[in-house]
């Protein structure tokens, strides 16, 4: 089966800055794909390469098997939801949504009907006559979504679409986007710097750093088995274990990661465990996060609610199963 989007050794350099450097990537049709990374990591440039706003310095980009280099954005059946939504301030909501159909020469009655239907799809029926300036942030975002979807794109690109919304709205929108994507079956490619967003919404995630993809995998993979220290660090709260420590406990001289919930904390001394000092306690509701000092190495453990908690400054014993130590392939 042909990929929805395929990058082969794609680079985009701005002078000496390698925004995207020799990236290989295959995104499946119908997939909800997230590009995750800190700002300046190249994820947005990748999105702009797919949309056609940037041209690769080298390499090949295909969209559903068709080569896309040299094809202007207006001839790509790909649409974008912009970070600032970029609604046209002089057009009302309905004309905004119908814009793509208008420039393709579709008759007024037909395009307005399609725009109405799409507004209903994003749960804004009857908002057509308002001006963008009269809408709330969440509503604008839905209009931007409708304006892209009305063209029935083969691929929908979303550039930090939830970044400007407040927490509650963001959580609702995450669910809604996911449902929408499943019901339409359109390939969604989604750029974010928020690992929680990427992990909760996407089928697969690519983690970017410095113009390179550090790891591609399902959220479970990325979370449980980070391939490198960067991914472990960026994606979440995994403990990063240095080679000396790993050698002591699993025999191999390699970097590894260990989930906080895999660490058991006992208040009594135990010769089979590792002694550790409690540095801080962080109450999180469903669990408590404990910062520990093990011979100068900082580790975090997670204790579910209801279990006895140590006190700050107390000396405790920690233990974990050897197989919970995940060796990182990405580190030499």
């Amino acid at each position: 089966m042909v990929s929805a989007v395929s990058f082969q050794k794609v680079s985009r350099h701005f002078g000496s800055v390698k925004a995207v450097d020799a990236v290989d990537l295959d995104i499946e049709p119908g997939e909800f794909f997230a590009m995750l990374g800190p700002s300046g990591s190249g994820k947005t440039t990748c999105l702009r390469l797919i949309a056609g706003f940037e041209q690769p310095t080298s390499g090949a980009i295909s969209i559903f098997g068709e080569r896309a280099e040299g094809v202007p954005p207006y001839r790509r059946n790909v649409n974008t939801v912009f970070q600032d939504y970029a609604l046209f301030p002089h057009l009302n909501v309905l004309d905004n949504v119908a814009y793509g159909l208008m420039v393709k020469g579709i008759g007024r009655a037909e395009r307005l009907k399609a725009a109405e239907d799409t507004l209903a799809l994003v749960r804004l029926p009857g908002y057509g006559s308002r001006m963008p300036g009269q809408l709330s942030g969440g509503q604008r975002q839905r209009v931007a979504l409708a304006r892209a979807l009305v063209n029935r794109p083969k691929v929908l690109l979303l550039d930090e679409p939830l970044g400007a919304l407040d927490l509650k709205l963001r959580e609702n929108m995450q669910e809604e986007l996911k449902l929408l994507q499943k019901s339409l079956g359109v390939t969604f490619i989604f750029v974010t710097h928020d690992q929680g967003e990427a992990l909760s919404m996407a089928d697969r995630v690519a983690v970017f750093n410095d113009g390179h993809i550090m790891q591609i995998g399902t959220p479970h993979d990325i979370y449980q088995r980070p391939a490198s220290r960067f991914v472990a660090d960026f994606v979440g709260s995994s403990n990063v274990l240095p080679p000396e420590f790993v050698k002591l406990h699993s025999g191999q001289m390699r970097w590894a990661s260990l989930r906080p919930e895999a660490i058991r904390v006992k208040r009594e001394q135990d010769a089979n465990g590792i002694p550790a000092d409690v540095v801080a306690l962080n109450y999180l509701g469903a669990s408590t996060r404990i910062a520990l000092d093990v011979n100068g190495l900082r580790l975090h453990a997670m204790i579910p609610a209801g279990q006895p908690l140590p006190e700050q400054g107390e000396r405790v014993t920690i233990s974990f199963n050897r197989e919970q130590i995940h060796l990182m392939d990405g580190e030499a």
């Binding site: 949309a51 056609g52 706003f53 954005p73 912009f82 970029a86 609604l87 002089h90 814009y99 304006r147």
Partner: protein, 271 residues
């Protein structure tokens, strides 16, 4: 500058500000009174009597009409040229960073930053070097040159406020460059261009310094007025023309203000 709601200005400041504004406006108001005076020979105050007959006399003066027609024609053509050139320049400067961008801005501002007499004498000596006879077009050449900056300033300010992703969004939705210009760019900068155009029109309609060098024997309305000031023929007619000129220039200024008042930079600040 923000201030507290309850703070009010010191009385001395209020008086100084009010006096300043009166200083700016009283002379203009006097023009309106003098247009109705019955005194023909001097600038006597208070006017010995009031009459409207000079309006009729002015109405029947062909030289005033000819000067007015030439002024309107020159202003219209210069404004059109300034709108085209100013917009092109503003679009180029706003849409990309290129080498020499600062130089272009300086080049546009120079004709208005240097004293008008320099622009005037340069053009005149260039015309005589190249044996170009004086015509409407020699006047237009000068006027369009210093009108570009007015349109340019307005257009640049608006381009700056227009988000760049809007143009990308249009491309993304399938519009090519020309469709984007027609459906997105033009509606968004339209009022700024209109405002810039009106200011350019007012500037050209009123210009005298450069025009004295590029007009030859032709008379625009300001040149006509200058002649009357230096060698008065019929003072009451001058009074009436002065009042009409004030009214005619105020209208485009007010219109330009209302077209751009929501913006962060209002038209005309950079005459």
């Amino acid at each position: 500058m923000r201030s507290d709601r309850n703070s009010s200005a010191p009385i001395a400041l209020k008086i100084a500000a009010a006096a300043g504004l009166l200083f700016l406006h009283i002379p203009l108001l006097l023009i309106f009174v003098y247009a109705f005076t019955t005194e023909e020979k001097s600038y006597q105050w208070p006017p010995p009597g009031l009459t409207a007959k000079w309006f009729a006399v002015t109405w029947n003066r062909p030289d005033v009409w000819e000067a007015l027609a030439l002024s309107l024609k020159v202003a219209a053509i210069s404004t059109l040229i300034a709108i085209i050139l100013g917009t092109l320049c503003a679009a180029a400067v706003s849409r990309s960073k290129f080498f020499g961008r600062e130089t272009i801005s300086l080049l546009v501002i120079l004709p208005i930053a240097l004293p008008g007499i320099i622009t005037g004498i340069s053009l005149r000596s260039a015309f005589s070097l190249m044996n170009i006879p004086f015509s409407t077009w020699t006047i237009v050449l000068g006027h369009a040159t210093f009108c570009i900056v007015v349109v340019y300033n307005n257009a640049v300010a608006r381009f700056r406020r227009t988000s760049g992703s809007m143009i990308e969004a249009s491309y993304d939705l399938g519009a090519d460059g020309f469709q984007t210009f027609r459906h997105i760019v033009l509606p968004n900068i339209g009022t700024a261009l209109l405002a810039g155009g009106m200011l350019a029109f007012a500037l050209s309609f009123d210009e005298v310094i450069v025009t004295t060098f590029t007009a030859g024997q032709q008379q625009t309305l300001p040149i006509w007025m200058l002649e009357e000031l230096v060698r008065p023929r019929q003072r009451p007619v001058t009074n009436v023309v002065a009042m009409v000129v004030v009214l005619v220039t105020l209208l485009p200024i007010l219109a330009a203000y209302y077209l751009t008042r929501d913006g962060d930079q209002t038209a005309g600040s950079g005459k």
